[in-house]
Amino acid sequence: MIKLNRVTKMYMRNRALYDVDLELTKGKIIGIVGPNGSGKSTILKIIAGLTHPSKGNVTVNEVKVDRLIANQVSYLSELDEYYGFYNVGQTIDFFATQFQDFNKEKAEEIRKFMKLDRDSKLKHLSKGNRGRLKIVLTLSREVPVILMDEPLSGLDPMVRDSIVKGLISFIDLENQIILITTHEIKEIEMILDEVIAIKDGDIIGHHNVDDLRSEKNMGIVEWMTEIYR
């Protein structure tokens, strides 16, 4: 479903990714872990068509990725880029006008699940509720690929829990693939099918999480401690 073939990405003279090969199949939740600046976000941006590889190529569903891939990919940015003067309801409605695949009923369902008030102004939302709203907007799109850049970072445990539960409740694993970059491994470990570890722009490990447990008797944290030593 997603294929990276010998992808290298340079930012000026800095190498963000180096000669990365990766093949991912649908129906899975995949975690990308690694220190800050290791290339996690770059991988997502390249798959989303938001930045282009310096070398190599990327395909989603056999289609070469360019900016038009946005109609197959829902991307949750690390940043908050919404209109402060909109309220929650207006933001959802605005998103519905931007993406044909946006399912408004689903958005309402997730909004209620996240206990967000349609009338709250965005500039008055707490950080936690902005995090929840981002989940509403990202998961309401009916697209094969969902990319989430640090959906849990900087949020308190209750918000993180509601986001993880929201993911379990509203993703469609028959048709979708979900890629999540994160440092919050404990929270998300139980919902990952696979984990990919990145270091200095290189994939240094890629495992099925249950295989890690049964073959190496290790959870993700123990595994990372071993490979990042």
């Binding site: 129906g27 899975k28 939740i29 993880v164 539960k165 379990i168 409740s169 694993l173 139980m190 919902i191 990952l192 099918d193 999480v209 249950d210 295989d211 447990r213 049964s214 008797n217 290790m218 959870g219 993700i220 944290v221 123990e222």
Partner: protein, 127 residues
């Protein structure tokens, strides 16, 4: 049932183990319907794929059966259930015995120890 899985065993197996224990304790009765895959995933905070695998494993050993369009049910087959009971007993005992051997107790000591323990426990409950 709060979500604490340990890291040394696949989650699907730990979840299967939980369900087996619920059956033995009578919290799940023969012919009871298990939660849907999605609901079970939400309840136990795990990936729906994991729940699916758990149900498949349990189906493989005939503890549950999936009825088309209706869901997954605990078997009514008494033989299978008593096998499960026997199996879990052996499993628990072997774990216990292994740890006792590790600490240097021999078979006799373990046996006496268990007998004495059960006798005391019985004394306690009769008082």
């Amino acid at each position: 049932m709060k979500d604490s899985f340990h890291s040394s065993q696949p989650i699907y197996r730990q979840l299967a183990d939980r369900i087996n224990r619920q059956i033995l304790r009578g919290e799940l009765k023969p012919n009871d319907k298990l939660p849907s895959v999605r609901d079970m995933a939400i309840q136990s905070n795990v990936n729906p794929n994991t729940v699916q695998r758990t149900y498949r494993e349990l189906e493989g050993i005939s503890i549950v059966e999936t009825r088309r369009g209706q869901g997954t049910f605990v078997t009514e087959n008494k033989e299978v259930l008593s096998e499960l009971r026997e199996y879990l007993k052996k499993e628990e005992i072997s774990r216990f015995v292994e740890r006792m051997h590790e600490m240097g107790y021999n078979g006799k000591e373990i046996q006496f120890g268990v007998t004495a323990f059960l006798r005391d426990e019985k004394g306690d409950t009769e008082q």
